[in-house]
Amino acid sequence: MKILVCISHVPDTTSKINFTDDKKSFVTQGIQYIINPSDEIALARALELTEKDGGTVTVINVGDNSTEATIRKALAIGATDAVRVNAAPRDAFFVAKQIAEYAGKNSFDMILCGRESIDYNGSQVPSMVAEMLSLPAVNSVKSLNVEGSTATLDREIEGGKEVVTCPLPCVVSATEGMAEPRIPNMRGIMSARTKPLTVIEPVTAENMQQIVSYDKPQPRTQVKLIDAANVAALVDALHNEAKVI
């Protein structure tokens, strides 16, 4: 099986997020980058599938050369080879277009993505890629198995679980539970030095979104506890302090 895994290069969850004074961009100094966690789950499952039945795992990332350490980590974890589309990602449509362009020319049995990236949380790329390639897309998948040319997938839905099947090739976005992310071992890190990392230039894509400004969430305010029996005090606080009623 030939699997393409899409990986995003995102700030570590423990990074302190700051924006420039004009609110136009994100301050990258001192930020540690990681493979997007749900992409790491997708990569782990892709490796499990190919280790069991044979095949290759290619990782693809849309980013400038600052993402190469993240791509090398994916190779160290076990990917066969990697492709970097040499462009700073502008929006989900741009990223999806680059992935679809590459995938369309290289016929994969499956395209695996993470459910969402933890920086912009768009959850758009997998479905867009599928649409561009006219493939079925199944999102937020907790379990993925392949039998012949059919994938069986479990999805978590409100109040239960949905089991779906779909023919290969397909696009699947992974969420927690599909596989345990892997830690690179020393042999993997050493072999990643020589695994192929191909850099390709982007295709043109329409700019569909523009970031106007960035703001941090409001700091959490103090919680005021009011005795459940004292409804009058609650109403008074909502009316005179919070001014919501």
């Binding site: 423990t14 540690q32 190469e68 690179p184 071992n185 020393m186 890190i189 050493m190 030095r193």
Partner: protein, 393 residues
């Protein structure tokens, strides 16, 4: 123990001095420690049991012979990579780092550096995967800081050497498959030999009742007329410089490792100081707690720069034994001092197994003594700068 929420301090952006591969190696070891060591280490220490199941994982993260060439099963990595792995392991526990230090610097290093090609091929690949574990016999009951006074000896019996004597305070001894042993020949010259478990007259009784390095197995090596084949002699070194070469490599790793323990203490204390409230505010807002935290971070940062530079020198084969002594002495002391300060910040909670502080502190009482005591390293620096030997004798 509570969930491992460790975040490494990097006040001087020292990460920028590392390569992407260094960071990948370090982060992988860090992740492995969080996943495999932190959840079990407190229990292992309380029970005084070496968690043997970690050996395979230690080998996989590159803890066994990372700088030994790949043709012998090592990692072929540089000295900074070795240091970073030791830092992360000791961030988990000094005992786990000790097991890795012994395997790498005190067993694989001498076999690689002083051994024959046959010895390298026979032992190193199995030691790198953890299939075989090793230990190092230098210290004796009556000869610690003065190893040159050792009484363990070998006699040439023609077809073999006859080994007699005893070694003490030997990490990994109770389960080791092989031991690199230093003994005097008939001329009084110190020679190295590889002794294998199963050789008649060789026993390894375990040392019980330790209050330190409880998750690491320590024991004695007892040699009662052990017949060691001649091909087990390490032919390429004679004299005290053999074991001291090994100790240089191990001490270098300890200088990095101790910083890991210091970082863990600092990180835990910083988090605790923000969460623990007294007098209506987090204790981190009080000047006396800030003094402790600020001084801890200052010392850790100085230690980080020290080992980074030492690593660069070691990569170029320019690090002197005296420079290594300075780093080992400084960083272990820093770690022990940080543990004591952190213990105070944690208040009563600092003595419980909920936090790693007391475990680190007790472990570091060994680390400040083994591989050259705090005092001996001072005298090494003193001799290096004055030219005067103050060791006595």
């Amino acid at each position: 123990m509570a969930k491992d929420r460790f975040q490494a301090p990097d006040y001087y952006l020292i990460d920028e001095l590392l390569t992407d591969e260094h960071k990948l190696i370090r982060d992988s070891a860090r992740e492995w420690v969080k996943r495999e060591v932190s959840p079990i280490i407190e229990d292992a220490c309380q029970k005084a049991e070496f968690p043997k199941h970690l050996i395979k994982g230690l080998a996989e993260v590159g803890a066994f012979g990372p700088y030994i060439p790949t043709e012998y099963g090592g990692g072929g990595l540089d000295q900074i990579s070795y240091g970073l792995i030791m830092q992360e392991l000791e961030r988990g526990d000094s005992g786990i780092r000790s097991t890795a230090s012994v395997q790498s610097s005190l067993v694989m290093y001498p076999i690689y550096t002083y051994g024959t090609e046959e010895q390298r091929k026979k032992y190193l690949p199995k030691l790198a995967t953890g299939q075989w574990m090793g230990c190092f016999g230098l210290t004796e009951p009556d000869h610690g800081s003065n190893p040159g006074g050792m009484v363990t000896n070998i006699k040439d019996k023609g077809s073999h050497y006859l080994l007699n004597g005893a070694k003490m305070w030997i990490s990994n001894a109770p389960f080791a498959d092989i031991a690199v042993v230093w003994a005097k020949d008939e001329e009084g010259t110190i020679r190295g030999l590889i002794v294998e478990r199963g050789m008649k007259g060789f026993t390894t009784p375990e040392t019980h009742g330790k209050w330190s390095l409880r998750a690491s197995a320590t024991g004695e090596l007892v040699f009662d007329n052990v017949e060691v084949p001649k091909e087990n002699l390490l032919p390429n070194v004679k004299g005290l410089k053999g074991p001291l070469g090994c100790l240089n490599s191990a001490r270098y790793g300890i200088a990095w490792g101790a910083l890991g323990a210091a970082m863990d203490c600092y990180d835990s204390a910083l988090r605790y100081s923000k969460e623990r409230k007294q007098f209506g505010r987090p204790i981190g807002g009080f000047q006396l707690q800030q003094k402790k935290l600020a001084e801890m971070l200052t010392e850790i940062t100085k230690g980080q720069l020290l080992v980074w530079r030492l690593g660069k020198l070691k990569n170029e084969n320019r690090a002197t034994p005296a420079q290594i002594s300075m780093a080992k002495r400084n960083n272990v002391y820093t770690a022990l001092w940080c543990a004591r300060e952190a213990r105070q910040i944690h208040g009563g909670m600092g003595i419980t197994g909920e936090y790693p502080i007391m475990r680190h502190m007790m472990n570091l009482e060994s680390v400040i003594t083994y591989e050259g005591t705090h005092d001996i390293h001072l005298l090494i620096t003193g001799m290096d700068i004055t030219g005067e030997n103050a060791f006595g004798g």
